[in-house]
Subunit: 188 residues, 2 copies
């Protein structure tokens, strides 16, 4: 399961609580990479702890609920390193809109077009989100110009990953727009 390894990766960067993981990582930078909900994060933390790949210390707080701060162990880091070098099978992607279009020929234009328009709007939002994230990573990168090579390399790799996600969304958007135009021009 890759979620476990993503969490391992995040905890290796920095010790964190489940809440931190959710609000700082999964809701922000990891959303488009590996979405995970709160329940799954906490359950995976339990699993990782039982595996011995992470440990936790409880921080008792007076004004707020106690926090369980997790960090990686030596076997955890070893497992992460192993996973990082292991080729994963291509993800199976299921795109509802494409499945719909595969069967949509019988529908009139007036039924197909709204579907495409809604997808267009949703995709534009996602693209904007990825672009905003790219800007944030770029800003992070600036102050580290004098930093060590590893950090630079990380920024560069993450930028590239974002770049791909943005390009893919752009491809999708252009395709959608062309399809909409073709249908409007009665070419489909």
């Amino acid at each position: 399961m890759s979620l476990a390894h993503v969490i391992l990766g995040l905890l290796q960067e920095q010790e964190r609580t489940g809440y931190d993981l959710k609000t700082e990582c999964f809701d922000q930078c990891i959303v488009h990479l590996w979405p995970a909900d709160q329940a799954q994060i906490y359950r995976t933390l339990d699993k990782l702890e039982k595996q011995g790949w992470i440990t936790c210390t409880v921080e008792i707080q007076q004004d707020r609920p106690n926090r369980k701060i997790y960090r990686t162990t030596a076997p955890g880091v070893a497992e992460l390193t192993r996973w990082l070098q292991t080729h994963q099978p291509l993800p199976t992607l299921r795109e509802p809109l494409l499945a719909q279009l595969h069967f949509a020929a019988q529908l009139p234009d007036a039924a197909i077009l709204p579907l495409l328009e809604q997808e267009l709007a949703a995709r534009r939002e996602k693209l904007a989100d990825c672009e905003a994230q790219r800007s944030r990573v770029a800003l992070e990168a600036a102050p580290v110009l004098s930093d060590d090579g590893a950090t630079l390399r990380q920024q560069e790799l993450r930028q590239r990953v974002l770049e791909l996600m943005i390009q893919r969304e752009q491809t999708y958007l252009e395709w959608l727009q062309e399809l909409i135009e073709a249908i409007q021009a009665k070419a489909v």
Copy 2:
């Protein structure tokens, strides 16, 4: 659940058995659109039948196991039409390689490159598969030039869907190649 609707769409085209669905549809044209394994197909057929959206008749065969031939019912077609016009939320995609790269900065080039090369090979295979399918659909389309508009529209839509899948794979491949070159040139 969209699998149910994909099956509904396939059965509306033509009556079929679970085995037909698996071998003719899901293993061939639907693989890259909505992969499904045999167990899931049979269980979904049961569910659709209980829902009253499909019915089946058993064909008794002497030399081979009996076949359960499924077809859509009127409520089933109505449900398909409703679904075809209902906007579905964007799929959440989880790409293991991108997740790995997000954390891969610490790895030496010699560890990252094989990962990228393996992905490249797998993606090339997938692209070839999609392109082969596009050729098949194009061949199907040729004899129907004189056919009714609905069939032409269907071919056109399916071509467009395939076109997008191909474009997305090409984008991915180009990105991968650029990344490999950048790493080899020590630019990352």
